[in-house]
Protein backbone atom coordinates (compact mmCIF):
# COMPACT_ATOMS: atom_id res chain seq x y z
CA UNK A 1 0.00 0.00 0.00
CA UNK A 2 2.98 2.28 0.72
CA UNK A 3 4.13 2.04 -2.92
CA UNK A 4 0.80 3.29 -4.26
CA UNK A 5 0.85 7.01 -5.13
CA UNK A 6 -1.13 9.20 -2.68
CA UNK A 7 -3.53 10.26 -5.41
CA UNK A 8 -4.44 6.66 -6.18
CA UNK A 9 -4.76 5.95 -2.46
CA UNK A 10 -7.26 8.79 -2.25
CA UNK A 11 -9.13 7.36 -5.19
CA UNK A 12 -9.24 3.96 -3.49
CA UNK A 13 -10.70 5.52 -0.35
CA UNK A 14 -13.28 7.33 -2.49
CA UNK A 15 -14.07 4.08 -4.26
CA UNK A 16 -14.81 2.40 -0.92
CA UNK A 17 -16.98 5.33 0.17
CA UNK A 18 -19.00 5.19 -3.06
CA UNK A 19 -19.39 1.44 -2.62
CA UNK A 20 -20.75 1.96 0.90
CA UNK A 21 -23.14 4.67 -0.31
CA UNK A 22 -24.28 2.40 -3.12
CA UNK A 23 -24.91 -0.41 -0.68
CA UNK A 24 -26.99 1.87 1.58
CA UNK A 25 -29.06 3.07 -1.40
CA UNK A 26 -29.62 -0.47 -2.67
CA UNK A 27 -30.64 -1.71 0.79
CA UNK A 28 -33.07 1.20 1.25
CA UNK A 29 -34.53 0.60 -2.20
CA UNK A 30 -35.06 -3.07 -1.44
CA UNK A 31 -36.84 -2.16 1.83
CA UNK A 32 -39.15 0.29 0.04
CA UNK A 33 -39.86 -2.24 -2.71
CA UNK A 34 -40.86 -4.78 -0.07
CA UNK A 35 -43.10 -2.20 1.62
CA UNK A 36 -44.79 -1.37 -1.71
CA UNK A 37 -45.38 -5.04 -2.38
CA UNK A 38 -46.86 -5.49 1.09
CA UNK A 39 -49.12 -2.42 0.78
CA UNK A 40 -50.36 -3.56 -2.65
CA UNK A 41 -51.16 -6.99 -1.30
CA UNK A 42 -52.96 -5.55 1.71
CA UNK A 43 -54.95 -3.35 -0.69
CA UNK A 44 -55.92 -6.34 -2.84
CA UNK A 45 -56.88 -8.33 0.23
CA UNK A 46 -58.95 -5.48 1.63
CA UNK A 47 -60.81 -5.03 -1.65
CA UNK A 48 -62.14 -8.59 -1.37
CA UNK A 49 -63.48 -8.04 2.14
CA UNK A 50 -67.19 -7.28 2.53
CA UNK A 51 -68.20 -3.73 3.51
CA UNK A 52 -69.50 -4.72 6.93
CA UNK A 53 -66.24 -6.38 8.00
CA UNK A 54 -64.37 -4.65 10.74
CA UNK A 55 -61.03 -3.15 9.74
CA UNK A 56 -58.36 -2.10 12.22
CA UNK A 57 -55.14 -0.20 11.74
CA UNK A 58 -52.09 -0.59 13.90
CA UNK A 59 -51.29 2.79 15.46
CA UNK A 60 -48.40 2.59 17.87
CA UNK A 61 -49.30 -0.11 20.35
CA UNK A 62 -53.07 -0.03 19.75
CA UNK A 63 -55.34 -1.24 17.00
CA UNK A 64 -57.84 1.40 15.94
CA UNK A 65 -61.01 0.59 14.05
CA UNK A 66 -61.25 2.54 10.80
CA UNK A 67 -63.50 2.85 7.81
CA UNK A 68 -62.61 0.35 5.07
CA UNK A 69 -62.64 2.98 2.32
CA UNK A 70 -60.38 5.24 4.33
CA UNK A 71 -57.88 2.43 4.84
CA UNK A 72 -57.98 1.63 1.11
CA UNK A 73 -57.20 5.26 0.25
CA UNK A 74 -54.40 5.49 2.76
CA UNK A 75 -52.85 2.32 1.32
CA UNK A 76 -53.02 3.83 -2.19
CA UNK A 77 -51.34 6.95 -0.89
CA UNK A 78 -48.66 4.89 0.81
CA UNK A 79 -47.91 3.03 -2.45
CA UNK A 80 -47.63 6.33 -4.35
CA UNK A 81 -45.26 7.86 -1.80
CA UNK A 82 -43.08 4.78 -1.67
CA UNK A 83 -42.89 4.52 -5.46
CA UNK A 84 -41.70 8.11 -5.65
CA UNK A 85 -39.00 7.37 -3.10
CA UNK A 86 -37.95 4.28 -5.07
CA UNK A 87 -37.62 6.35 -8.26
CA UNK A 88 -35.44 8.87 -6.45
CA UNK A 89 -33.26 6.06 -5.06
CA UNK A 90 -32.96 4.54 -8.54
CA UNK A 91 -31.60 7.85 -9.83
CA UNK A 92 -29.08 7.95 -6.98
CA UNK A 93 -28.10 4.35 -7.69
CA UNK A 94 -27.48 5.05 -11.40
CA UNK A 95 -25.39 8.14 -10.61
CA UNK A 96 -23.31 6.32 -7.98
CA UNK A 97 -22.78 3.29 -10.25
CA UNK A 98 -21.51 5.57 -13.03
CA UNK A 99 -19.18 7.34 -10.65
CA UNK A 100 -17.94 4.02 -9.26
CA UNK A 101 -17.21 2.52 -12.68
CA UNK A 102 -15.37 5.65 -13.83
CA UNK A 103 -13.20 5.76 -10.72
CA UNK A 104 -12.60 2.01 -10.84
CA UNK A 105 -11.29 2.27 -14.42
CA UNK A 106 -8.97 5.11 -13.44
CA UNK A 107 -7.56 3.20 -10.46
CA UNK A 108 -7.15 0.06 -12.53
CA UNK A 109 -5.21 1.81 -15.26
CA UNK A 110 -3.06 3.63 -12.66
CA UNK A 111 -2.19 0.35 -10.89
CA UNK A 112 -1.66 -1.78 -13.99
CA UNK A 113 0.02 0.62 -16.37
CA UNK A 114 1.49 3.02 -13.90
CA UNK A 115 -0.26 5.84 -15.78
CA UNK A 116 -0.89 9.00 -13.78
CA UNK A 117 -4.41 9.23 -12.31
CA UNK A 118 -6.59 11.82 -13.99
CA UNK A 119 -9.15 12.62 -11.32
CA UNK A 120 -8.94 13.15 -7.58
Amino acid sequence: MNNIPPKVQNQLVMLQQIQQQLQTVVTQKAQFEMAVKEAKRAHEELKDVSDDSEVFVNIGSVLMQQDRQKVLSSLEEKVETLELRIKSLEKQETALTGKFEQLQAQVKSALEGGAPPTAT
Binding site: E45, V49, L75, L111
Partner: protein
Protein backbone atom coordinates in the same frame (compact mmCIF):
# COMPACT_ATOMS: atom_id res chain seq x y z
CA UNK B 1 9.01 -3.09 -11.99
CA UNK B 2 9.31 -5.76 -9.29
CA UNK B 3 7.94 -3.30 -6.75
CA UNK B 4 5.03 -2.52 -9.03
CA UNK B 5 4.20 -6.23 -9.41
CA UNK B 6 4.41 -6.75 -5.65
CA UNK B 7 2.15 -3.77 -5.06
CA UNK B 8 -0.41 -5.02 -7.55
CA UNK B 9 -0.30 -8.49 -5.97
CA UNK B 10 -0.65 -7.03 -2.49
CA UNK B 11 -3.55 -4.87 -3.57
CA UNK B 12 -5.17 -7.83 -5.31
CA UNK B 13 -4.88 -9.88 -2.13
CA UNK B 14 -6.45 -7.05 -0.13
CA UNK B 15 -9.30 -6.70 -2.57
CA UNK B 16 -9.91 -10.44 -2.70
CA UNK B 17 -9.92 -10.56 1.10
CA UNK B 18 -12.46 -7.73 1.12
CA UNK B 19 -14.65 -9.62 -1.33
CA UNK B 20 -14.38 -12.71 0.82
CA UNK B 21 -15.42 -10.77 3.94
CA UNK B 22 -18.31 -9.22 2.05
CA UNK B 23 -19.51 -12.60 0.82
CA UNK B 24 -19.34 -13.86 4.41
CA UNK B 25 -21.48 -10.94 5.59
CA UNK B 26 -23.99 -11.48 2.79
CA UNK B 27 -24.28 -15.17 3.66
CA UNK B 28 -24.87 -14.24 7.30
CA UNK B 29 -27.60 -11.71 6.43
CA UNK B 30 -29.37 -14.11 4.06
CA UNK B 31 -29.16 -16.96 6.59
CA UNK B 32 -30.72 -14.73 9.25
CA UNK B 33 -33.51 -13.76 6.84
CA UNK B 34 -34.11 -17.41 6.07
CA UNK B 35 -34.35 -18.28 9.76
CA UNK B 36 -36.86 -15.45 10.31
CA UNK B 37 -39.06 -16.62 7.45
CA UNK B 38 -38.80 -20.20 8.68
CA UNK B 39 -39.96 -19.08 12.12
CA UNK B 40 -42.90 -17.15 10.65
CA UNK B 41 -43.81 -20.19 8.60
CA UNK B 42 -43.96 -22.36 11.72
CA UNK B 43 -46.05 -19.68 13.47
CA UNK B 44 -48.49 -19.72 10.56
CA UNK B 45 -48.73 -23.52 10.73
CA UNK B 46 -49.47 -23.28 14.46
CA UNK B 47 -52.14 -20.63 13.81
CA UNK B 48 -53.75 -22.80 11.11
CA UNK B 49 -53.88 -25.78 13.50
CA UNK B 50 -55.38 -23.61 16.26
CA UNK B 51 -58.00 -22.09 13.95
CA UNK B 52 -58.98 -25.53 12.63
CA UNK B 53 -59.26 -26.91 16.15
CA UNK B 54 -61.33 -23.96 17.41
CA UNK B 55 -63.50 -24.06 14.29
CA UNK B 56 -64.33 -27.74 14.87
CA UNK B 57 -64.87 -27.57 18.63
CA UNK B 58 -66.80 -24.32 18.72
CA UNK B 59 -66.61 -22.02 21.72
CA UNK B 60 -64.01 -23.36 24.08
CA UNK B 61 -62.04 -22.29 27.06
CA UNK B 62 -58.39 -21.87 26.18
CA UNK B 63 -55.32 -20.72 28.06
CA UNK B 64 -54.10 -17.30 27.02
CA UNK B 65 -50.36 -17.17 27.66
CA UNK B 66 -49.30 -13.84 29.11
CA UNK B 67 -45.57 -14.54 29.10
CA UNK B 68 -43.33 -15.54 31.98
CA UNK B 69 -45.26 -18.79 32.25
CA UNK B 70 -48.48 -17.06 33.37
CA UNK B 71 -51.78 -17.88 31.65
CA UNK B 72 -55.44 -16.95 31.94
CA UNK B 73 -58.49 -19.02 31.16
CA UNK B 74 -60.22 -17.33 28.23
CA UNK B 75 -63.47 -18.26 26.58
CA UNK B 76 -63.43 -18.01 22.80
CA UNK B 77 -66.79 -16.40 22.12
CA UNK B 78 -66.77 -16.49 18.33
CA UNK B 79 -64.15 -18.71 16.68
CA UNK B 80 -65.52 -17.91 13.23
CA UNK B 81 -64.59 -14.22 13.42
CA UNK B 82 -60.84 -14.04 13.09
CA UNK B 83 -58.85 -10.81 13.12
CA UNK B 84 -56.09 -11.20 10.60
CA UNK B 85 -53.05 -9.02 9.96
CA UNK B 86 -52.85 -8.65 6.18
CA UNK B 87 -49.70 -6.50 6.20
CA UNK B 88 -49.01 -2.75 6.13
CA UNK B 89 -50.37 -2.44 9.69
CA UNK B 90 -53.89 -3.40 8.57
CA UNK B 91 -55.94 -5.95 10.50
CA UNK B 92 -59.17 -7.21 9.02
CA UNK B 93 -61.93 -9.50 10.18
CA UNK B 94 -62.25 -12.74 8.19
CA UNK B 95 -64.10 -15.98 8.69
CA UNK B 96 -62.24 -18.95 10.13
CA UNK B 97 -62.01 -20.68 6.71
CA UNK B 98 -60.88 -17.49 4.96
CA UNK B 99 -58.19 -16.90 7.57
CA UNK B 100 -56.94 -20.47 7.13
CA UNK B 101 -56.82 -20.03 3.34
CA UNK B 102 -54.89 -16.79 3.73
CA UNK B 103 -52.37 -18.35 6.10
CA UNK B 104 -51.95 -21.40 3.87
CA UNK B 105 -51.21 -19.15 0.87
CA UNK B 106 -48.67 -17.29 2.96
CA UNK B 107 -46.90 -20.47 4.05
CA UNK B 108 -46.64 -21.57 0.40
CA UNK B 109 -45.11 -18.20 -0.49
CA UNK B 110 -42.73 -18.41 2.42
CA UNK B 111 -41.61 -21.86 1.27
CA UNK B 112 -40.80 -20.42 -2.16
CA UNK B 113 -38.89 -17.56 -0.52
CA UNK B 114 -36.87 -20.00 1.59
CA UNK B 115 -35.95 -22.00 -1.53
CA UNK B 116 -34.87 -18.83 -3.34
CA UNK B 117 -32.81 -17.64 -0.38
CA UNK B 118 -31.19 -21.04 -0.05
CA UNK B 119 -30.23 -20.97 -3.75
CA UNK B 120 -28.79 -17.46 -3.31
CA UNK B 121 -26.75 -18.56 -0.31
CA UNK B 122 -25.34 -21.51 -2.26
CA UNK B 123 -24.44 -19.23 -5.17
CA UNK B 124 -22.60 -16.78 -2.88
CA UNK B 125 -20.86 -19.71 -1.15
CA UNK B 126 -19.57 -20.90 -4.54
CA UNK B 127 -18.34 -17.41 -5.37
CA UNK B 128 -16.65 -17.18 -1.95
CA UNK B 129 -14.93 -20.52 -2.59
CA UNK B 130 -13.65 -19.26 -5.93
CA UNK B 131 -12.27 -16.11 -4.29
CA UNK B 132 -10.65 -18.18 -1.54
CA UNK B 133 -8.96 -20.34 -4.19
CA UNK B 134 -7.74 -17.23 -5.97
CA UNK B 135 -6.30 -15.86 -2.72
CA UNK B 136 -4.49 -19.14 -2.23
CA UNK B 137 -3.09 -19.02 -5.79
CA UNK B 138 -1.96 -15.38 -5.47
CA UNK B 139 -0.32 -16.19 -2.16
CA UNK B 140 1.56 -19.16 -3.67
CA UNK B 141 2.61 -17.05 -6.65
CA UNK B 142 3.95 -14.33 -4.37
CA UNK B 143 5.87 -16.86 -2.29
CA UNK B 144 7.42 -18.57 -5.31
CA UNK B 145 8.49 -15.20 -6.78
CA UNK B 146 10.08 -14.34 -3.41
CA UNK B 147 12.01 -17.63 -3.42
CA UNK B 148 13.15 -17.03 -7.00
CA UNK B 149 14.86 -13.74 -6.10
Amino acid sequence: MVNNVETVQGREMEMLQEYLNEFGQQIEILSRQMQMIEQRRFESFAAIDTLKELGENGSDVVLLQLGGGASLRVKVTDPDRVLLNIGSDVVVERSNAEAIDFLQDRTTEMEAMIKKLSANINEIRNQANEVAQRIEMTYRKARSSQKGQ
